[in-house]
């Protein structure tokens, strides 16, 4: 047995911790004053809230949060510190971090350092001690919007800070996946015997996704966001995967065109999140920006083929516009909405009926979040198995 993580020694009583002031300014002028958390300085992004009560490390390192300032609705953050196993990518991607009560002492047998240190080390500007519930309600009522966090030398008059926020770019129309995706292809080997090869187009992929595939005997070739059809078929894939990622799907014309070719070739296809939106667009559906998005790990999604409800992890600000009540005709045959969020009837999954392709808007790889939707990776395997059988017959 290993010894528990060493505890900090007792501070002298009344060693008043320095509370460094910080300000959060929304583009509509609402302002919250708190204390600096993580790095000091200034940062800008789209303000969004996440309702997960666990999994801050996974959230921070999820590339889909690129250029977003994440407000945690759970008030006590950082309690389990930071370890080296749970990140979903090599760095923190959030543009800024907003919490109410950060931990002073992390406690977990796997913890290596505190979250505060980690944020500071990676230069992530945050704010703590504000009424995160009030901010969340504001975003819920007014919608996601631009925000700035300022501390230390970046502090100035509020009007000046607001002006800086208004100069920051908006999320709508932002083409971001190339900024977060790998620039070089790499391979995640299958765990155990290899059964399939999958070309996974990285639009901001989370580490857990190739791992979930690898566990099912898939060798995953992770390819850059701007990969071409030729690049994909160069790895002789049994299936093609399009990952999650940040930004507006309306900007992803290149990926849409690539996917259309995959559909035409009837290669088994699976998409998650951004991948779902690309499938939607590839089939001719529209996409739109949600007022304040789905970000959390408690969202009820119904699988319309079984009627069963799964509790799922979400992180999306855009969604596909497709009819819920009928099968649609598309250039690639019939398609239908396979999954729907029971909270608000947002499209959460698409299923092609004439080509081997499907996608979900949410995160079956979880991390963070419940594992209820892990069966979707099995469906992908089934699709590839069936495709092999067809090819063989």
């Amino acid at each position: 047995m290993t010894a528990p993580a060493p505890l900090t020694t007792r501070q002298p009583r009344a060693a008043r911790r320095e509370r460094v002031p910080a300000v959060l300014v929304l583009e509509d002028g609402r302002t919250f004053r708190g204390q600096a958390y993580g790095a000091t300085g200034e940062t800008f992004g789209e303000a969004v809230f996440n309702t997960g009560m666990s999994g801050y490390q996974e959230t921070l390192t999820d590339p889909s949060y690129h250029r977003q300032v994440v407000v945690m609705t759970a008030p006590q953050i950082g309690n389990t510190g930071v370890n080296d196993e749970d990140p979903e990518s090599a760095r923190i991607w959030v543009a800024g971090y907003v919490v109410r009560d950060p931990a002073r002492v992390p406690s977990n047998w796997r913890s290596k350092r505190s979250l505060d240190e980690e944020l500071a080390n990676q230069g992530v500007v945050g704010i703590s001690g504000i009424d995160t519930r009030a901010l969340t309600r504001h975003l819920r009522e007014r919608g996601a919007m631009r925000v700035g966090i300022f501390s230390g030398p970046a502090l100035a008059e509020e009007s000046e800070l607001l002006a800086r926020v208004l100069q920051a770019p908006e999320m709508k129309g932002a083409d971001l996946c190339a900024e977060v995706a790998t620039t070089e292809p790499y391979i995640v080997p299958a765990v155990g015997a290899k059964r399939f090869t999958v070309a996974a187009v990285d639009l901001g992929i989370k580490a857990m996704t190739p791992q979930r595939m690898a566990e099912r005997g898939i060798e995953v070739h992770v390819l850059p966001a701007n990969s071409t059809v030729e690049d994909i078929y160069a790895v002789a894939p049994d299936g093609v995967f399009f990952s999650n990622g940040p930004g507006d799907p309306a900007t992803a014309d290149h990926q849409v065109a690539v996917m259309q070719e995959v559909l035409a070739r009837r290669t088994p296809l699976f998409g998650i999140c951004f991948g779902n939106q690309i499938l939607g667009r590839a089939l001719g559906f529209g996409t739109y920006k949600l007022k304040y998005g789905h970000r959390g790990i408690n969202q009820p999604v119904q699988d319309r083929s079984t009627g069963k409800v799964e509790v799922t992890a979400h992180n999306h600000g855009f969604a596909v516009e497709a009819p819920l009540d009928k099968v649609s005709d598309t250039p690639y045959g019939r398609a239908e909405v396979s999954h729907v969020c029971l909270n608000d009837n947002v499209v959460e999954g698409l299923q092609c009926l004439d080509v081997p392709a499907f996608s979900v808007q949410y995160h079956p790889e979880a991390a963070a979040g419940p594992h209820d939707a892990a069966y979707l990776f099995d469906r992908f395997v089934d699709l590839m198995t069936a495709s092999h059988a067809n090819a063989g017959s």
């Binding site: 666990s54 008030p75 389990t80």
Partner: protein
């Protein structure tokens, strides 16, 4: 999948009397379930012996049986009502065990009743430890996670001794099978411990089975609350983390929701295991609770146990999240699926989700060790707390501080004044879990302990330890600051410091701190419990306070009435007061008011967000209540605050609230004082020409002796200004008086001791009445079965009174009215009288709802608390009669001659406690109240009603076998008649030599048995204690001797408790029992619903 259409009627079993481990949470769950089922159009048949519950209100079910929850009685109800289905998962272990018995004895099959909510196989798999181990193994095979602690099942002491070796030695945990609240569980550190704990465990387990397992003492402890529907959808409603590590029963632990120190990976593993378990066990529809232990060093997860039913934790989880588990469980049981049920709070989203909290919830237990001074106060795996308080805040320190002050107990809050103790001694003390350990930890921190030292001593998770250090640092900042600037004050308030704590640290009065705070505009805001962390708009005003920026209290137009609840359950102030508060809320909502409930007890119906228009889950202290009044005053018109229904807690706040300009409705604080202050009350009595027993007030032994000499022994001695009969004793002679004063020197130091004449052989009478300023409505007259001197809360009583005549009632009415008028009551008053000889003495008067209000209301079919609430707001009794809330004519003093008899019996917690040597605690009743709950028996004659009450409280009275009789000298003359009756009923009488002699002279044959003090006889003749332990005695009558012979009695009574033999400690109870046994022997005892009962009374009234 919509509701099943094949179910037309459902039988719901409640949990019976409040006992430790099974308390008001089942009233909350059961009430929710009954309401839901009725709303679904089903005929709801309910059985519950506990009259103090809301669920047994006649409006809640279609047919309400206040009958004993035994297989026999439930079968009678099934035969009469022929329900289609039985829902057993909402009444705790009592309901589950009864349902299993009814299944096993073929009753359910005979009447074609289907079990819903959980099938028998699932119940066994969840509850039987060996089967459950199999479940965990199967789960591990499927998902690769989860294991059980290494363990062995034992049925004999030999197997137990062998078992220890296979586990690798001591310490080991002993867990008896099929007991509730962990009764009989414990840690054995050596063979002596083991023999004692396991021996008792074998006796307590209905299957004579105990489990020994490896010690996981000091590990982190977690619970998950899960729900599953018939479509196999599963959600985790809540995670709960225990602040106190493994080794303390979760009911006795400080617990926190959501889990604070788990990574997502660890949490999801628990969730995966939990879901796999609920599937493997086969809970088809409904909820379950699963407990886990995690090794803090390496994350190894052990599944401890599961409860395939709603539980105390599920009630807590429901209040903590706003997700009503019992309500949803009832809907699932009749066929709905989670996605078909809307989330009450958002109204727009479905229940098939997992609540997200944006606040922290802390629950703290409330103990009553002061009532059982000989009991061992060490916390173990057997639950010992009698109640709990819950609080919410926007961070852990805020919630913790609020929860600790909600306990409303001296010393429960952190204090930073006074001597700094010895660090090592404090750390050593904190290593043993006890009531108040968290305060010891804080003292150790003050004394300079490091975080590492605190962790090593207590194994409390380092994150929690640091939070305590944070509080200490803030306290130091407050102490050392030159001035209390706004920033610092706000910082302290954000961490839950009360004005009183801040004042204490700064040497200021709390009122001054409050005034400064208000002047600086530092006030709490009120946030909503909305299940979704503000992701969706909430329509249910369920609030908690926090020092944050934005308040969510909406404006309103209707006048509001704020009802102050009764706080955590404790002995002397329990669910009965919650009953009255809930009734007030219902009645006032109907009368057009906006009702606002304030309470901090998560077990209750009052803290169900469905009960009142607005719910504030807040501590009941002056500071917290004033802030709520402020917020509600800003929200709209305020008609007033009701303080007379929640027991002493709100009553104690009345004057201070009034002084701060808060309108109190009903009986005014000055009137309350008048009744409580002895001198003033004496004047009221004198003015009305009413006698009180002779009494006096003493500050010293000399004064006390002089008073006692004058009024004559025995005397009743008690410290003034204490509640629930605390420290009250009957003193028989001068040496006892001296020793009494010595023992209570602490209580007496500030206030004098009161010496009353003790009325030997008096009949004690309780009266509940309503007074509106002109008219008196006598709610009910209860005649106690035990003589005066036994606390009224511990005494059995009958209504209508069985021996009082019309003349007595008339006198009681006149006296009650004179007192109500003299004191100035507007609402309820409870008066205790003693009838000695022909003199009617007034013992005490309480101008508030009493413990007996629900009993009286049910026995007379009149909603007294509702009427009291209306009178408080200005309605007159005449108006309420005209409305039909009160009978048109007559009252509880003029019940029709054929009115059924209702008997109330108290339920005592003896079996829960052991002294430090592991022996039982004495069971003698006295002037200090110690019961935790009560049951009611109703029948046409007294004997049957008494027998039902006994069955409900302790198990059926025996109708044959051996009765052991040993009574004090003063009781001997009253012994002969009941003893003769027992012989005639076929009992064999055993007696000690002195009692046998008396019996012989009365012509009653008896067998002399050896006293415990005499020891075993030369030929191995067993003593009475041995006979009891050997299971050869069926009924015990043992009245305590004034002074001598105490030890013998103690051994007899504790043996009775450990063997579960009915033991009567007064000769009056013996008389009643004889009538009860006679009734049981003579034949069929029927069942009658409260609705039938009410129809009978009401038709007789017309």
């Amino acid at each position: 999948m919509p509701k099943r259409t094949d179910i037309k009627s459902v039988l719901v079993i409640g949990s019976g009397p409040i006992v430790i481990g099974q308390a008001a949470e089942f009233d909350y769950s059961g009430t929710q379930a009954c309401r839901v089922l009725r709303a679904e159009g089903l005929r709801v048949i309910l059985v519950n012996s506990n009259p103090a519950t809301i669920m047994t209100d006649p409006e809640i079910a279609d047919a309400t049986y206040v009958e004993p929850i035994t297989p026999d009685f439930v079968e009678k109800i099934i035969a009469k009502e022929r329900p289609d289905v039985l829902l057993p998962t909402l009444g705790g272990q009592t309901a589950l065990n009864t349902a299993i018995s009814l299944h096993e004895n073929g009753t359910l099959a005979k009447y074609g009743v289907e079990l819903i909510g959980a099938n028998v196989e699932a119940i066994h798999k969840g509850e039987d430890r060996q089967l459950f181990k199999g479940v965990v193994e199967a789960v591990n095979a499927k998902i690769g996670h989860g294991e059980s602690a290494r363990s062995v099942i034992c049925h004999t002491m030999d197997e137990i001794m062998a078992g220890v070796d296979t586990l690798g030695g001591y310490p080991v945990v002993v867990r008896p099978s099929f007991t509730m609240g962990g009764a009989g569980s414990g840690f054995a550190h050596d063979e002596e411990d083991l023999r004692r704990i396991a021996g008792q465990g074998l006796a307590l387990s209905p299957t004579t089975e105990v489990l020994l397992e490896e010690s996981i003492l000091g590990w982190k402890e977690y619970e998950l609350e899960l729900m599953r529907d018939r479509n196999d959808n599963v959600v985790v409603v809540c995670s709960i983390e225990n602040f106190d590590p493994m080794g303390v029963h979760t009911g006795d632990s400080i617990t926190v929701a959501p889990a604070m120190t788990l990574t997502d990976r660890e949490y999801q593993t628990l969730r995966d295991i939990g879901i796999a378990i609920i599937r493997e066990v086969g809970v088809d529809t409904g909820g379950c609770n699963i407990q886990f232990a995690i090794n803090p060093d390496d994350g190894r997860i052990i599944v401890i146990e599961m409860n395939p039913r709603v539980s105390r934790s599920s009630a807590l989880a429901s209040k903590a999240t706003g997700f009503p588990i019992a309500k949803i469980a009832a809907k699932l049981a009749v066929g709905y699926t989670l996605d078909e049920i809307p989330n009450d709070i958002t109204e727009k989203t479905p229940a098939s989700f997992e609540p997200a909290l944006d606040y922290v919830v802390v629950k703290v237990p409330r103990f009553a060790f002061e009532k059982f001074p000989s009991a061992d106060a060490t916390l173990t795996t057997t639950m010992k707390s009698v109640g709990e308080a819950m609080a919410m805040g926007r961070n852990f320190p805020e919630a913790l501080n609020k929860a600790l002050r909600s306990l409303e107990k001296k010393g429960s809050q952190f204090s930073w004044i006074g001597e700094i103790g010895d660090k090592d001694a404090l750390l050593a003390k904190a290593a043993v879990p006890t009531d108040g350990r968290i305060n010891t930890v804080m003292e150790a921190i003050r004394a300079g302990a490091t975080q590492q030292e605190v962790f090593e001593s207590t194994k409390i998770d380092p994150w929690f330890v640091d939070q305590l250090f944070l509080l200490d640092e803030i306290a130091a900042e407050v102490a050392e600051a030159d001035r209390l600037d706004p920033e610092l004050l706000r910082h302290a308030k954000r961490h839950g410091f009360s004005d009183q704590q801040i004042g204490e640290i700064r040497g200021l009065k709390p009122d001054v701190v409050r005034e400064v705070r208000h002047a600086l505009g530092i006030r709490p805001v009120f946030k909503t419990v909305d299940t979704c962390a503000a992701e969706f708009a909430a329509n249910t005003p369920y609030f908690y306070s926090s020092y944050d920026e934005e308040s969510e209290v909406a404006p309103r137009t209707k006048p509001a009435v704020i009802i102050l609840g009764s706080g955590p359950n404790r002995i002397g102030q329990g669910i009965e007061f919650d009953y009255s508060c809930v009734h007030a809320s219902f009645a006032l909502a109907e009368a057009g008011y906006e009702t606002v409930m304030v309470n901090c007890n998560p077990e209750t119906v009052s803290t169900d967000y469905d009960t009142s228009d607005r719910l504030y889950f807040e501590p009941l202290t002056l500071e917290d209540v004033l802030e709520i009044v402020h917020a509600e005053t800003l929200a709209g018109p305020l008609a007033g605050v009701i303080v007379q229904l929640g027991g002493q807690t709100p009553l104690g706040l009345a004057q201070a609230l009034k002084d701060n300009g808060v309108p109190i409705v009903g009986t005014q604080p000055e009137a309350i004082d008048l009744a409580e202050e002895r001198g003033a009350f004496g004047r009221v009595l004198r003015d009305a020409g009413l006698p009180a027993p002779k009494h006096g007030t003493a500050f010293s032994f000399e004064e006390a002796k002089a008073i006692a000499d004058e009024i004559g022994y025995p005397v009743l001695a008690r410290p003034s200004y204490v509640l629930g009969g605390r420290g009250m004793e009957i003193v028989y002679d001068e040496p006892s008086l001296a020793s009494y004063l010595e023992r209570h020197a602490g209580l007496i130091s500030e206030h004098p001791v009161l010496i009353d004449r003790f009325l030997d052989d008096a009949v004690e009478i309780d009266v509940d009445a309503l007074f509106d300023g002109t008219e008196l409505y006598l709610g009910g007259v209860m005649e106690h079965i035990e003589e005066a001197g036994i606390h009224s809360g511990d005494s059995a009583c009958a209504l209508p009174p069985i021996t009082l005549g019309g003349y007595d009632i008339k006198r009681l009415r006149t006296s009650t009215e004179a007192i109500a008028r003299g004191v100035g009551v507007r609402g309820l008053i409870n008066i205790q009288f003693a009838l000695s000889g022909d003199i009617l003495y007034v013992l005490e008067a309480n101008p508030r709802a009493s413990r007996t209000v629900p009993f009286t209301s049910k026995a007379t079919a009149v909603p007294l608390a509702k009427a009291a609430a209306r009178i408080s707001l200005g309605a007159t009794i005449a108006e309420l009669r005209a409305e039909g809330m009160l009978p048109t004519e007559g009252d509880g003093g003029t019940l029709p001659a054929n009115c059924p008899i209702s008997v109330k019996e108290a339920v005592m917690p003896w079996s829960r406690f052991r002294d430090i040597h592991g022996r039982g605690v004495d069971t003698v009743l006295g002037p200090e109240m110690r019961s935790t709950g009560e049951v009611m028996g109703i029948d046409t004659v007294f004997g049957t009603a008494y027998a039902k009450a006994q069955s409900g409280a302790y198990g059926a009275l025996p109708t044959k076998g051996k009765v052991f009789v040993s009574v004090a000298n003063r009781d001997k003359r009253n012994l002969v008649f009941p003893a003769r009756a027992l012989v005639e009923l076929g009992f064999e009488v055993l007696a000690t030599s002195g009692t046998a002699e008396v019996l012989q002279r009365g012509g009653i044959p008896s067998t002399v048995v050896r006293k415990h003090s005499e020891g075993e006889g030369p030929n191995g003749e067993r003593t009475i204690v041995q006979l009891i332990h050997d299971g050869e005695v069926d009924l015990i009558i043992n009245t305590p001797y004034g002074t001598g012979g105490r030890l013998d009695g103690y051994e007899i009574r504790t043996a009775a408790v450990s063997r579960g033999v009915p033991c009567l400690t007064t000769v009056q109870a013996m008389g009643a029992a004889v009538q009860g046994i006679d009734a049981l022997t003579r034949g069929d005892v029927g069942v009658m619903s409260l609705q039938e009962h009410a129809a009978l009374i009401n038709s007789a009234r017309k």
